[in-house]
Symmetry: D2
């Protein structure tokens, strides 16, 4: 691989780690905010997504920080969960804390999606791959 | 869904949680054992896999314990990491602690593979799905 | 140290690890149950305690599984959080899931309290115990 | 409490969260670096401290992000582990990655020590501080 590509790969990895750690933090803060404000913000499905997202972002960051060969798998899971969490926050008004959370989730989703294709910068379609796994036997 | 199927789904879920938590524990114990014994057992790649496996098993268990809709994604990542960790332990002699760890990883891999296909008991082929995601753009 | 004492120390350690991992699991299950049932069970303070307890139990178990010298510190924190979580579950009716959670928390609290003071079985005062555990042998 | 004090308390809390998350990250990076470079850097005791430190920093940050009443306990444990990890990195040459890690650990230790005593800025004695923090207002 040419060194510009290696460099680019490292920048993408570093950016993805940053995005995962930032997303982990904002999900934890949003969870606290939702618990305090109650109502629709504290519905079980939403709280669960925020907890899911904080946990997988943390694990995904750990895999990348360790230089793990299998980070594409945790990045794939992370992209999926971030996408769902962003959609939930956008539906809940998408302002203030919800807006900040949705934006952090979308950024993390995008960079994890990129990392989930392994060495390739832009895999065609990881969702299709997961859909294939979801087909009935 | 007929209630026997629901029951079976719950049994599979509970067994998968048990296997993830057991695998998390044995990976942590094996890591400690490898650090103490050194040599080939303490090679970076092996220690990293044991840490990876402990972390994703914990996260995968949390998703299932929370009843998360997206547990199929974390189970998929978990199955992949468990498979790699089992292979590494089998290559390193596959006796004593290594053997116990490889067995726990294989059990966890099998049940996570099953859960990663969502509601279906035996998805055709999750590896093919991941391979598709790995194709060049 | 005589070998019976070493053996006893190992048994206590193993039991404490078991109790931490069991408490981590039941707190996660109780959290899911509380979210599903709502009302007083899903009050922010209670959900927060269940999350706190699951997290510190996991970290406390990891320190012991790694054979860390500093596990007395994480065990001290764990005993304190488990005690608070048990009290909250007992106040919320102490039956069904709440009762199971309170019992697991009390068991974990007792063994972590023991580990946090080093060799002493029942410290009157945990901080004094911590100081005692730090004295040169 | 006067509002300047509340403000100050919040600033301290926010700074402590920042320091915990930064320390968690640098410990993970240092662990990877130590595994890659081997030798004295990869001795079991050192790797264990880096793993301990990453784990308790993460848990300590979670307690504060959740606004948990019991964060003084996890901050106390975190300060103790960070101090030990910093000392280990300083002894191992204290340059490059080791120096960056030691500095992040010292910063985290200082702010966690402060948080572990509640409102007091510089406890002489952390256990005494803990007792003071527990007194009725």
């Amino acid at each position: 691989m040419a060194s510009a590509e290696v460099k680019r790969g490292n920048d993408d990895l570093r950016e993805c780690i940053d995005n995962c750690l930032a997303c982990h933090r904002v999900c934890m803060e949003t969870l606290t905010d939702c618990l305090a404000r109650g109502g629709r913000l504290a519905e079980p499905g939403h709280l669960r997504l925020l907890m899911d997202c904080a946990d997988i972002c943390e694990t995904s960051a750990r895999f990348m920080l360790r230089g793990s060969d299998l980070h594409s798998r945790t990045c794939f899971a992370c992209a999926e969960v971030c996408g769902a969490c962003a959609a939930a926050c956008e539906k809940l008004g998408n302002e203030g804390m919800m807006k900040a959370c949705a934006e952090a989730c979308r950024r993390c989703e995008a960079s994890c999606r990129r990392m989930s294709g392994g060495v390739m910068p832009h895999p065609i379609n990881p969702e299709a791959a997961q859909r294939a796994a979801d087909l009935p036997a």
